[in-house]
Symmetry: C2
Subunit: 501 residues, 2 copies
């Protein structure tokens, strides 16, 4: 490997110490070889460069290296410089000592840290590439990679050197304008480009917002069942979390208003409740806005998956119904483009812009500039609209395949609830519990998540599975369903029940 | 513009409402045109696509469009579909109404939010490309863009579809391995790749750590003067901040231990104090570790700029001296590569890995996968090492140019303190205050930051400037210094003093 990077161990040198520089350098490099900092076969920097690094003369450096070579620690290869030997000499002047560090004596995590680290992500992924029935992943193999690559090349070429510097803390202006145009045309709400802030995904947006809108101890409504990212963001801000149940019309506003009237913030997924998939009814939307107005509460609307409607009339987002500027809109490009991109956005009231701008700028964290440029061009060029439209047809087909396969393989044991929007379905289990099915399915290489994993409070979940249908094609969905049927059968056997206890 | 994206306004449709679907669609599109959701000249989706969108028959859609065309709201262009007219008809059946939204009635920010948004970023940037004496920006025009672009192309090509999915919450394994090898060889510390977490810059790393290590009300030492990112992270976590003064040997450990012995966390920049530039002495480092051990406190070491040493022997990082696993190492690629990349990393104790992994995974926020891949290849190919080495020589030259220009233009009015590491200098002012000089310099297109901007507590700062020397070449530094001399002269005049009052 010609390009192998050259190593230069960091040697603490004290010019006043006894024994002189040469000995210190010799001892330092030897120690680095013995304790493994310099691995066998590692290429060393040239003696000239190392001398410069350590601020010693080249002669001193050469003398130290000569000694190391004489003792068999390093070896020279013609034309390529010095290398640590592959096998250390047997007759080491001093055998390598394994330093036994004492057991960690550091303090524990904070209470918040412990609570955060005990919050598992709700969806249960197996490792490896997309498979049936992964949640949260779109059809990655159908992403127009060639168009994206062309735009990356073009942006890399046209980016001025100043484009490598820190960017606008609110995000790239061109991308913010493209997003404002997009939500205006397709989500039934208005905003100016400068109300849009680009964030590293929806979870990061919630995080940023909880931080500036909540003080420790503030009360927050979260949907039950609900999204773990909202749970983490609220916990991270030190909020008290009040789970509010979700029914067929979405968040039960009356229940929340009755049990936690003093909440300061509500997190809600009105277009497509996560994970149940129901749309919030118009009366509920209006009730939520009325309540928030009288209670003086913020509403964070996560509008994820709203592009993927299959059979319903579109309902404008809550943000579009809000006249009091108390709804903050959050969305992500993870589902309509791809999750590895880590881009999303929030839309904030005009009079919050300056404050959010400076709190974010102090924390110094806009997403990478190049990614924002590429996405802006992707949207401006109409590729985004085209891709979403194309995917809508693909996902409709996959949803039909899911329903057909469930019917074919699982019969009455798995009952799919109607899906009108989004990339996942909820399926009720009959006579078997979700946790057992999850385990048996995982053992067969099939990903399903028990609905119970999305419950955080005291509500009693029904036995059901949450199943994605977007990530793989109809054939893979069918095969996955065949295996899932076997998993359900296995989970229903008495032995498996015992194991679950 | 052939590629102009087509718009489809979101129309709320109620199948039970009086007047039928056609009338609702007509009214909805008209409303969107009148209120500006659909801009003049906007291209509409095909009637077929709109019908599918709204889940109505194409005939219904065509009838609604005919009415809109007859009334002059939309127009057809042969072969390109329907467009909103550029000029709206004068005899509108109903004039456009400007909806006067009531003034915002939303709640205020939280106390924390208000405090965060009142934290200005310390360094004072003017808008526009790099200029003398920008802080925190490296020589962006010397970044090996061609190599980087080649790697981007290669990674985009080789990335499997699964690479577009969510990645490892701790970061890309190949990048973590490259970083572990790098700090092992050049920073005098050891870690395994799985102790490395990739974060979106150092500030984001501090943010993540403060969140899991601190509870609201916990006491934190911050350096005074110090880094605003650490201030934000501590504030964001709800911590109580105790500023501890910095002298010629770095953080004054005895002062901190005397005034705030119960601190739970210390933030420190030992290699190159931000912004003073001093290196923490070995006795101080040992005292800090001893104190942290007895107090049960965490130490967050920000090792920024440590690659750029000019004349001193390298001092191993604090992390390498720590035997109690209480030091967490933080670094960024903003200075040694480029800020727009938004990548950095933290190194955590082994027994914290699992907890940090799950709290991060719940919050769902690894940096973009492609950027991580490219950086991993950049490091593995030896490009990182080469670039840093090359830049070290460039920055040494620029530092010399800065000193020569200060001598030439400012004489005794500006006294540069010695610079041994990093990309900025501190310069004492004589007989004039930093704020006035900042204002006069900004008026002349020159960026300097008063040292006082980095003080948060009660300590009385001396009048000095913080000046970057890496972002522009010697000629630009010289020109900037000529202008700065004029600014200092102007600031010293009585009128300017009055303006400052």
């Amino acid at each position: 490997m010609q390009n192998k990077p050259a190593a230069s161990p960091l040697i603490p040198i004290d010019p006043r110490a006894r024994g002189g520089l040469q000995k210190q350098i010799y001892a330092g490099i030897r120690r680095a070889i013995l304790n493994g900092t310099l691995r066998p076969g590692a290429r060393l920097l040239s003696s000239r460069a190392m001398a410069a690094d350590l601020a010693v003369s080249r002669t001193t450096m050469l003398l130290a290296m000569d000694q190391l070579r004489a003792e068999g620690y390093v070896t020279a290869r013609r034309g390529s410089g010095m290398f640590v030997v592959d096998e250390l000499p047997d007759d080491l002047p001093q055998p390598p000592v394994r330093i036994n560090k004492p057991a960690a004596t550091h303090p524990p995590l904070s209470r918040r840290g412990a609570a955060l680290s005990a919050t598992p992500p709700a969806s249960r992924r197996l490792t490896g590439p997309p498979r049936a029935f992964r949640i949260g992943s779109p059809a990655l193999d159908l992403f127009p990679r060639r168009v994206w690559s062309q735009l990356v090349r073009r942006c890399l070429k046209s980016l001025p050197a100043a484009g490598l510097d820190y960017g606008d803390p609110a995000g790239l202006p061109a991308l913010r304008a493209a997003i404002a145009a997009h939500v205006g045309a397709s989500r039934g709400t208005h905003c100016d480009a400068d109300q849009v802030f680009i964030v590293a995904g929806a979870a990061r947006g919630l995080d940023l917002l909880c931080r500036v809108l909540l003080d420790p101890g503030d009360l927050v409504w979260l949907e039950e069942p609900g999204y773990s990212g909202a749970w983490s963001a609220a916990l991270g801000a030190g909020a008290r979390i009040h789970p509010v149940r979700v029914d067929d019309e979405g968040l039960d506003v009356a229940a929340g208003a009755g049990s936690a009237p003093a909440a300061r913030l509500v997190f809600v997924t009105p277009s497509h409740q996560y994970p149940l998939g129901v749309a919030m009814s118009l009366p509920r939307r209006l009730a939520l806005l009325r309540w928030a107005g009288s209670a003086g509460a913020w509403v964070l609307e996560d509008d994820y998956d709203s592009e993927f409607r299959y059979s319903t009339h579109a309902v404008p987002c809550l943000h579009g119904l809000d006249t009091g500027e108390r709804v903050i809109y959050v969305n992500s490009f993870s589902k309509n483009l791809f999750p590895a991109l880590r881009l999303g956005f929030i839309i904030v009231p005009k009079d919050l812009r300056r404050q959010l701008f400076s709190s974010r700028s102090a924390a110094d964290m806009h997403p990478p500039v190049l990614d924002q440029m590429v996405l802006a061009e992707f949207m401006e060029g109409g590729h985004f609209e085209r891709h979403v439209r194309r995917m809508r047809a693909v996902y409709r087909e996959r949803l039909e395949a899911l329903a057909a396969a469930a019917e074919r393989w699982c019969g009455g044991a798995l009952r799919l609830r109607p899906v009108r929007t989004g990339l996942h379905a909820v399926a009720d289990l009959v006579g078997v519990d979700g946790e057992s099915v999850y385990r048996e399915a995982a053992a067969r290489g099939v990903e399903v998540t028990p609905l119970s994993a999305y419950y955080w409070g005291e509500a009693q979940p029904v036995e059901a599975l949450v199943m994605g249908f977007a990530a793989v094609d109809p054939a893979a969905l069918n095969l996955g369903m065949e295996r899932l049927a076997a998993a359900i059968e296995a989970a229903a056997r008495p032995t498996s029940r015992r194991r679950a206890d």
